[in-house]
């Protein structure tokens, strides 16, 4: 196998691995499944890598392959959401000031997003990652108008989960 290609791939994935971890966090419920999914995404990315022409950003390309793997290809284990999730999530704060309420709100939102169905989850995740509607619609394969409409509905769902 081409060593240089391998090296280029591993380096880029190492740099951008947070995207994959975030998706694994959203779509799995324990560390073992997290690692399983990470591995499957890595394999799928690696297989598709020779065809990656670099006309889009590596990270943009990654979102698509990683989400496709999480939603479509990965066989989820039967384990259900456990309550540890909420406790174990901690947000590293880049800014100096520590805002307890925001931290709490973020945690709650994270838990709320995890409660959405697989597709809504992808939609909201891409939105939180500040992807344009054009990009979201291209990733999921739905029209841009529908992506907007459905995003608003997903937001409503989130709001309901957050403020029951």
């Amino acid at each position: 196998m081409n060593k240089e290609l391998e090296h280029r791939f591993v380096t880029q994935l190492e740099e951008n691995q947070n995207i994959v971890h975030k998706i694994c966090r959203l779509y799995t419920h324990d560390q073992d499944s997290h690692n399983d999914l990470f591995q499957e995404i890595t394999i799928q990315l690696w297989r598709a890598f020779p065809k990656f022409r670099g006309d889009s950003k590596f990270s943009t390309w990654m979102y698509r392959v990683a989400l496709n793997t999480a939603i479509t290809l990965y066989r989820k284990s039967k384990r259900q959401i456990n309550t540890q999730d909420y406790e174990s999530i901690s947000f590293k704060i880049k800014a100096e000031e520590y805002d307890d309420t925001t931290e709490q709100q973020l945690k709650l939102m994270y838990v709320a997003v995890k409660k959405l169905n697989d597709i809504d989850k992808a939609l909201v995740f891409l939105y939180l990652e500040d992807k344009s509607y054009k990009e979201i619609s291209a990733t999921l394969g739905i029209s841009e108008v529908n992506a907007r409409v459905k995003m608003n509905r997903a937001k409503d769902k989130l709001r309901k989960i957050l403020n029951p």
């Binding site: 598709a48 901690s90 597709i119 999921l140 394969g141």
Partner: protein, 212 residues
Amino acid sequence: MDELDKLKKEWQSRELDLPKMSYNDIYKMLLKKSSSIVKWIFIISLGELVFWLSLYFVIPDDNMKLMHDMGIGPFMYYTNIIHFIVFGTFIIFFYKNYRAIQVTDNTKKLMSNILKTRRTVRYFVIYNVGMFVLSSIFIDSFFYSNSNKLYKVMDFASKGVPQENFANVFIITQVLVGVAVIGLLILFYWLIYGILLKRLKSNYKELQKMDY
């Protein structure tokens, strides 16, 4: 600005306490094997194709001889040829659909291609089960109406099988065996694909709903 958008800003400015994989961790993963559902669908589908194909090779010679002695040898011969042409067509379609599955496609297209591959194999199975049922009906009714000839050809007299009621016992056994085989097949498919494709199907429906 709404509450969610405020949180969106926070989401980006902060980072989750995420695990970190080293270069070597990632490198090792490249050598691991995939366990995606596409791989499983491919393996199981190949198994099905091989299973149905091999059935035509493991049919005992006695059986063919019986067909000949009963006078339907040529008929069976030509049906088998048609059968294999249909088999070949299915295999070409299956291969083409399988090759069309690309993880870099958009989610909807990817899902639709996976389901298409699956559908090809399902039609293949339906075709086989259908042919199995049709040919059973045909052969059984043919044997039933020619039960005297069958009794002689199979030489049941020397095996001590009484000719009285022979036709009825024969047909009942054939039907029971046939129904049992089909029942088992349906159970098998229901179990395997039910488990494998449940989530994919419901996600696909969700996505389709989104686009209307």
